[in-house]
Amino acid sequence: MNINMTLIGQTIAFAIFVWFCIKYVWPPISNALHERQKKIADGLDAASRASRDLEMAQEQVEQSLRESKEQASQLLEQANNRSAQIVEDAREQARAEGERLISGARAAIDQDMQRAREELRSQVAHLSVLGAERVLEGAVDEKAHRKLLDELAAEL
């Protein structure tokens, strides 16, 4: 085991390697690591922000859901009311129409009856005159007795 020039050679080699490391090895690794650290920190930050956002969004969704549910039930109620009203209206209309028809029919019947009675009355007058003629053998002048006959017919 001798101490010789190797000692100096090793010291020089050591110095050169340290210099190399300072110059070319340390900086890129150090930079990469610090950049990654920063990136991870940013990522964690973003994640926590996103989770906060998500919470907020969920709250919003719940609220709007509640609102729309309320609205829907309101609409449903309105529709129910409206339909009940429509049914009511229709019923009313139908009754009115029915009544109108009935009254119309009644009027027509009355008119017919009136006409029939009128006709009957004239027929009776005629027949009465005819009968009387027969009895009196034409002694009765139709013209002369017309007024009397009309009065008779009106009494019917």
């Binding site: 085991m1 101490i3 000692l7 010291t11 080699a13 340390w26 990469a32 990136k39």
Partner: protein, 275 residues
């Protein structure tokens, strides 16, 4: 140990603990040392080719791997390799941030280089002791010690680098006067005790690189010796001791890299601290 060659255990161990040394031999001139005696005859003007080669190789592997991953690093989901590199990086960054209480952008890269480089060099130890020496022997290279941290030159080289930085920052942050005051007025703030303080503090300062270098070298070298001893057993018995020792060494390898890094950062932190 080459198959069929019966080698004396002492020789085998010697062979394994011998670096591939190239240097100026008094008789042979510039040449590769053939044995330990020739290597020690070369004195200071010699160099361990295996230590230099493997450690620089590991250093480039570290730089290449981390640079590649760093350049391709995405801020998105990281791949497998990127995750491993990032975990290592964050481990070292956290370590420096908790240990180093001053502002200095150099400490992070320094700690990363120390930790990963030492870890890689130490990890070479998990490769069975005969593999690389055997392969290199086939191509005519006598000695090959592939774990640089079992060579005191390598560990002391790094410790020396750290120590130079400690001295530099002591002078830079505190100034020569401040540094001298710190050395002479601690721990006993009294003029009569200045020599005593000086002795204490200078020893404490000088012991730093030795503590760093010796701890790593001692652990790695001792582990290596035990691996070599285990390799001397009959081939069917080797795994019995080798496997537990290797598993235990996964811990040692990481722990020693960690301790070297932490202590370096602690020493540098002390160099930055004003009192």
């Amino acid at each position: 140990m080459a198959a069929g060659n019966v080698v004396a255990p002492a020789e085998y161990i010697q062979h394994h603990l011998q670096n591939l040394t190239f240097g100026l031999h008094p008789d042979n001139g510039w040449s590769l040392a053939q044995n330990a005696a020739e290597a020690s005859d070369m004195g200071f003007w010699a160099i361990h080719l295996d230590t230099m080669g493997w450690s620089i190789g590991m250093g480039f592997l570290f730089i290449w791997l981390f640079r590649k991953v760093g350049n391709a690093a995405t801020t998105g989901v990281p791949g497998m390799l990127q995750s491993i590199i990032e975990v290592t990086f964050e481990f070292v960054e956290g370590l420096t941030r908790s240990t180093f209480r001053n502002e200095n952008p150099i400490i992070g890269p320094l700690a990363l280089t120390l930790f990963v480089w030492i870890l890689m060099m130490n990890t070479l130890k998990i490769i069975p002791v005969d593999y690389f020496p055997g392969v290199f022997e086939q191509i005519g290279v006598e000695h090959m010690k592939i774990v640089p941290t079992t060579d005191l030159n390598a560990t002391f080289g790094m410790a020396l680098g750290v120590f130079l930085m400690v001295l530099y920052y002591n002078f830079k942050i505190k100034g020569a006067g401040g540094f001298a005051r710190e050395l002479s007025l601690k721990p006993f703030n009294h003029w009569a005790l200045i020599p005593f303080n000086l002795l204490l503090e200078v020893v404490a300062l000088l012991v730093q690189p030795f503590s760093l270098a010796m701890r790593l070298f001692g652990n790695m070298f001792a582990g290596e010796v035990i691996f070599v001893l285990i390799a001397l057993l009959p081939f069917w018995a080797i795994w019995l001791l080798d496997v537990p020792w290797a598993i235990f060494h996964i811990l040692i390898v990481t722990l020693q890299a960690f301790i070297f890094t932490v202590l370096s950062v602690v020493y540098l932190n002390a160099a930055h601290e004003r009192h």
